[in-house]
Symmetry: C2
Subunit: 190 residues, 2 copies
């Protein structure tokens, strides 16, 4: 998506440890116009999948999920992050390892919010190694729901998470795929 | 806002400790149509305030803030919650006491995301005693920005936070004000 790539080149910041910071326009201070263009593009790419629900994880996935939901006319569900895995019986949980933050979080969704009839589109701001999406897939599996695909704003292509999902036959649409990045250059996959 | 009040009566759940749970349609599983009607209503109520930025706090405020931003054509900024108050010099921080969760969180905004020219609308899903808004106001004050008002989906009128802000002359618009609630009845202020 050209608009997003241009904005990453203009305002994205690269830090050591393969960190690409887009918090000035996408995931903390959020440019409303860009956000809803991203949402619209996601809706175009998944218009044939009969999505019944969008699933994301707090916090930075929520904005993009809501923007996509606006054009797809489906509900948004977000998994909460919890410090404890000792939760009530009425919740699905999964562990997510964060390589960026070097910790493990438990993500939680109430069972009543997912049904086996649901066709789920996972939406998130980033995919790197795919740890968050692995956790969300576990929750979808526990509910007996169907994963119809993943829509990601920015994929760090060089970390392999997106391609591993594609190799499994999952439809993964990333609006910008960064194939390499250094302090002074970013290369997108086309 | 009639649509929201009707939905609270239909799907809201009251728990002990003055907890009103709306996570089935507003702040975890989110009804897209309701969300954007709430956003549109907020934009109508603040159309004369020349808002330059919407400020909220993660996670459940983000969806409503984005929906309002969509109709107001302004950026959304959300404060992050942090476990530590030992943060970099380039951040504004404030402590927020949660009576619901019986803890204190530090909320954080990067200084570069706010300017003294900003006219800020605070948006959140709930106001009870107003602790989160107090923290957000502190951050606005630290930045030398101007608070033009607060837009809240649901105000727990009986906990006084909204009325205390109004008594200070702050424009507070809550789309549903619950003046009393018990297990089997909810009364709205009109």
């Amino acid at each position: 998506m050209q608009l997003l790539e241009e904005r990453i080149l203009k305002d994205g910041k690269v830090y050591s440890g393969n960190v690409l910071k887009v918090s000035g326009f996408l995931n903390q201070l959020i440019d409303e116009e860009l956000l809803f263009e991203v949402g619209k593009e996601i809706s175009v790419r998944f218009c044939e999948q009969e999505v019944t629900k969008i699933l994301t994880v707090e916090a930075s996935g929520i904005a993009i999920a809501c923007a996509a939901a606006h054009y797809m006319h489906v509900p948004v569900l977000f998994a909460k992050k919890s410090k404890t895995s000792n939760l009530a019986d009425d919740c699905y949980t999964a562990d997510v390892v964060s390589f960026t933050h070097n910790n493990t979080a438990t993500i939680v969704v109430e069972k009543s919010f997912l049904s086996s009839d649901d066709k789920i589109l996972i939406v998130d701001d980033f995919i790197a190694r795919g740890a968050a999406i692995k956790g969300l897939r576990s929750i979808i599996d526990q509910a007996g729901a169907t994963l119809v695909g993943c829509a990601i704003a920015i994929e760090k292509g060089f970390q392999g998470g997106g391609d591993a999902l594609r190799a499994e036959g999952i439809k993964v649409e990333s609006l910008a795929i960064v194939d390499s990045m250094t302090d002074d250059s970013l290369t997108f996959r086309h």
